[in-house]
């Protein structure tokens, strides 16, 4: 395997990682502030992708599609927070899991009902098509590079929002002591709706961005949701920093595992069984990573015990 291919795979891993970060950041914020496990986060990702595909098809503008993805996901997010999620904060995790699982059923079938079972396609705009030459002569997809840029920009923005602004201060206070900031006169229910809508918008954006590489279809959010869970278990629940570290770790491990393992096994096996064993093991690799983290640090890399 040559160096160029390896660097390309590392970039692919980064791209996958920042997408996971957009999902995991919302999940971990919602868990950190409201103590809620939200399975319907994957549905918000799907809603973002569908909204983007619909708006892009109607207007032809990719930028407008991205804005629509965030707006639609945030709106649906705020709506379910006000109607359903709000009633779940005081309930135990089992009830949260089941109620948000019920939301997945409703959203998935609802989307299938409106858009049909066939996947939609969201095209990469002309100005992001093609490749760029990176320093060192590496040719890489401009669109994927843009995704990495957007993801990192969101990460920086989120850090600034949480550490520098008034809303961020309230979010941090909410993580520490919910009742106290309520007693200090902060309207906690507005804060909750806001945090939920913010997490939803990030999920929607990531759905739209990925939707342009893969297809936009019902159920697209579920595998990503589970990976995002792996990410926050590795990073530590409630920690944005952990979500970023975990997401990059999972993105790189998965992408590199899929390309490297068959090669590694190929050094001492015949080619076809190396591919079989390598790819089967690669599909389990991130879970093995998660198990490893759990053995040494059950609360995740950045989690507090």
């Amino acid at each position: 395997m040559n160096m160029l291919l390896l660097i390309e795979q590392i970039l692919n891993g980064l791209q996958f990682g920042v997408m996971l970060f957009l999902m995991a950041a919302g999940l971990t914020l919602i868990f950190g502030v409201m103590g809620l496990i939200n399975l319907a986060h994957g549905s918000l990702y799907m809603i973002g992708a569908f909204a983007a595909a619909a708006v892009a098809g109607w207007s032809g503008s990719f930028l407008l599609a991205l804005i629509a993805s965030m707006a639609a996901a945030a709106m649906v997010g705020a709506l379910i927070e006000l109607t359903v999620i709000r009633r779940l904060y005081d309930r135990d995790h089992l009830e949260q899991v089941l109620a948000t699982f019920a939301l997945i059923l409703i959203f998935s079938e609802g989307t299938r009902w409106i858009f049909g079972s066939f996947p939609l396609f969201l095209n990469i705009p002309e100005y992001l098509k093609g490749t760029v030459i990176l320093p060192g002569g590496i040719e890489y997809s401009l669109y994927r590079l843009t995704i990495i840029g957007i993801g990192l920009a969101v990460a920086v923005g989120l850090f600034l929002l949480i550490s520098k602004t008034r809303v961020g201060m309230r979010i941090r206070a909410g993580e520490n002591d919910r009742e106290m900031i309520g007693a200090l006169g902060v309207d906690i229910s507005v804060l909750y709706t806001l945090v939920f809508a913010l997490g939803a918008a990030l999920a929607g954006l990531s759905g739209a961005l990925v939707g342009a590489i893969q297809s936009v279809e019902v159920g697209m959010g579920e595998p990503v949701l589970i990976l995002a869970f792996v990410v926050i278990v590795i990073g530590g629940i409630g920690s944005i920093k952990g979500a970023l570290a975990g997401a990059l770790l999972v993105g790189l491990t998965d992408t590199l595992g899929r390309t490297m393992l068959p090669v590694v096994f190929g050094t001492f096996m015949d080619a076809s069984s190396a591919t079989t064993v390598g790819s089967a093991l690669a599909s389990m690799l991130i879970y093995i990573l998660m198990a490893g983290v759990l053995i040494f640090k059950p609360t995740g890399l950045f989690g507090s015990s």
Binding site: L94, E95, A99, L103, I106, W113, S279, M284
Partner: protein, 328 residues
């Protein structure tokens, strides 16, 4: 309000009367539906031991369900093709005898539960939910990418496995096998719940610190419960595979974990017959709503949401009063 025991007896009676009626009126499809309900109920009874009694919200029981299914699939496919599973260092051949397959399914899923449980139980609360979900999903992807036993397409078994003295291809006889197994497991779980083990498990669920203070090794207690729970769900998986004569990675899908959990919440968490009522109701809903609309999952979602938000205690909770010293 009825007593819970009365409700349970009515449920058992219905599980006898409905298939008997279907047999008389010659509706084998109804018997197949009832068989499905009984098998899924068994999977739910398994999860309920960990979830209802132990408070361990496992979102990865599909792993055990699938493991049971593949135990059946692998053994039966080797028997079907007359190829041994292993030739060296010693010979292992496939089999199409149900009792052997059950035993293998139980042992395999118990071992898997031991592994997953030992890791997952190091965490608690929401971590536990996510970790079990992730481990379940791991096997889903593994079976998809492992081509030896059908990969993504799954494995078809052409003839249902044999049970000594019975014709398993006759729907009512296969139903009988499943029903007897369900009753046996219910009896066992009931005894277990009332044993010192079950009381300690329930105690640790209600107050972990207190249980620890009186000298209970909570981790080991929960691990044992998790293993038994996984083994029961694995047995259900083997039966489910035999019902369909087909296994595929979908048995490992997290939707299965979610569905098994739905049975419990529909019927009533921690109630002995909760999963039985829940699974039966689920099959009825699937049958009737599925007939009404292609998009029946919307209605299922709405019903589930309603039950979670407004009907704590599920169906049995609505029908029966709490018995003293039962549940949390």
């Amino acid at each position: 309000m009825l007593r819970e025991r009365t409700v349970n007896m009515i449920v058992l009676l219905l599980l006898l009367v409905v298939p008997a009626y279907a047999l008389i009126t010659d509706e084998p499809f109804t018997i197949t539906l009832a068989t499905r309900a009984v098998i899924l109920a068994l999977a739910g009874v398994g999860l309920n031991l960990a979830l209802g009694q132990g408070g361990l919200v496992s979102f990865g029981h599909a792993a055990f369900f699938g493991m049971g299914g593949y135990a059946m699939g692998i053994l039966a496919s080797h028997a079907q093709n007359y190829t041994p599973i292993l030739e060296s260092p010693f010979l292992i051949e496939g089999t199409n005898s149900m009792p052997v397959i059950w035993l293998v399914a139980i042992i395999a899923s118990a071992l898997l539960a031991l592994l997953i449980g030992a890791l997952s139980l190091r965490t608690s609360g929401v971590y536990f939910i996510m970790v079990t979900l992730a481990f379940g999903q791991m096997f889903y992807y593994f079976t998809i990418s492992w081509p030896a036993y059908g990969g993504e397409d799954g494995l078809s078994i052409y003839v249902r496995n044999q049970f000594p003295g019975l014709n398993t291809l006759d729907p009512i006889q296969f139903y009988g096998i499943c029903f007897v197994l369900l009753c046996a497991v219910l009896f066992l779980v009931d005894r277990l719940n009332k044993s010192p083990f079950g009381l300690a498990l329930n105690g640790a669920h209600q107050n972990e610190e207190r249980a620890r203070t009186v000298g209970i090794n909570v981790y080991r207690l929960r691990l044992v419960a998790f293993v038994i729970s996984g083994a029961i769900t694995g047995l259900a998986g083997a039966l489910f595979a035999d019902l369909n004569r087909f296994v595929s990675p979908t048995m490992f899908s997290w939707h299965i974990s979610g569905e098994i959990m739905i049975f419990i919440i529909l019927g009533g968490v921690g109630r002995l017959f909760g999963p039985v009522v829940g699974a039966a109701l689920y099959i009825l809903l699937e049958h009737f709503l599925g007939g009404l609309s292609e998009y029946w999952f919307i209605y299922l979602g709405a019903i589930l949401l309603g039950v979670v938000l407004f009907a704590k205690g599920g169906i049995i909770g609505k029908l029966a009063k709490r018995e003293v010293g039962h549940g949390k």
